[in-house]
Amino acid sequence: MEVNQMQRSFLEYANVLFREGFLDGQFSQLQMLADESNPDFVVEVVSLFFEDSQKLLNDLTTTLDQQNVNFKKIDAHIHQLKGSSSSIGAQRVKNACIAFRNFCDQQNVEGLSFGSSITFAFLFQLEQQIVAAGGAIPILSEFS
């Protein structure tokens, strides 16, 4: 599929993602930044986001599995994920981060485990939606 055609179909589908609450207004900002000289911008940033987020969530899971959980590290991971999901407009992922960050303050390992699973689920869901729209995003290989 030619890049522009792919881009166009994805962008059309994005409206569905807005309606369903997967994406928020920040995503429109990204769309505004893609133009003829940078047609791949949105796809590039979104791909980066999925790669980055998957790694973050994996790191978070590893940290949670430790004997002595480093809550400071976990908080940093969630903060980073919240930041990047906010930057691309991944609304559900962002909101999930905001919600489960509280478990960090409470040092609630079970809550954090649960929270990270939900966040992973939202991430996976978003990625599936984008792939369905024809965007060339690498699929999350593991769902832990």
């Binding site: 807005f18 928020d24 207004g25 920040q26 429109s28 900002q29 990204l30 769309q31 505004m32 930044l33 133009d35 940078n38 911008f41 590039e44 940033v45 980066l48 986001f49 980055d52 940093a76 903060h79 980073q80 919240k82 930041g83 990047s84 906010s86 930057s87 691309i88 407009g89």
Partner: protein, 191 residues
């Protein structure tokens, strides 16, 4: 990444530990016709700015050597930095720049995903021109030019004292604007 500063273009140095945010700010700035260099830490920023480590924290300004100025090969017109970064925070970077005679006149903008009024005020008091709440938008980037131009003009005309006065006056209005922005930031507009 073009290193030679074109006469007609302003060069912005963007500092952020997040790759996604670096990509975003780079695109925002390039779309607004700025030349951009991005780095992932405060220490790399200082390195890029040609900050000569041997000479800085020396309070005796007479000892600042000429070589510090010469080592800054690329002219940076503005630095925009994230606040929360591991190691050197945006605030630390700001402070170091203001303590350096060769870097203190470069306008600095701080960005943060967290709206903490005390943090905002602290940065503005230390000399940051403005504080942007993340995610940064095109409308924020539109606000950069005046800061660059103000510094350029004051380099030629006004003495340093007057410039500091102006910055103080703008602190209150800037923090008001950003607190307002924070309140309205939850209502996102879909285009």
């Amino acid at each position: 990444m073009g290193m030679t500063a074109a006469d007609s273009q302003f060069h912005v140095l963007a500092v952020d530990d997040s790759l996604i945010d670096r990509k975003l700010i780079e695109r925002l700035l390039k779309t607004s016709s700025y030349q951009v260099t991005t780095v992932d830490s405060g220490s790399k920023a200082l390195e890029f700015l040609g900050w000569n480590g041997d000479v800085r924290s020396n309070p005796n300004e007479n000892e600042i050597s000429v070589s510090e100025k010469n080592s800054q090969e690329v002219e940076i017109n503005l630095v925009i930095t994230d606040y929360c970064m591991p190691g050197m925070t945006g605030y630390d970077l700001l402070k170091k720049m203001k303590e350096s005679s060769s870097l203190r006149n470069i306008p600095v903008i701080i960005m943060s995903s967290e709206n903490v009024p005390s943090r905002i005020n602290r940065c503005l008091e230390e000399g940051a021109e403005e504080f942007f709440l993340k995610p940064v938008r095109l409308s924020d980037v539109d606000k950069l030019k005046p800061h660059i131009m103000k510094t350029k003009c004051s380099d030629i005309e006004k003495p340093e004292k007057e410039e500091k006065q102006e910055n103080k006056e703008s602190i209150e209005t800037s923090s008001e604007i950003h607190l307002q922005k924070a309140q309205t930031s939850t209502s996102n507009t879909l285009l």
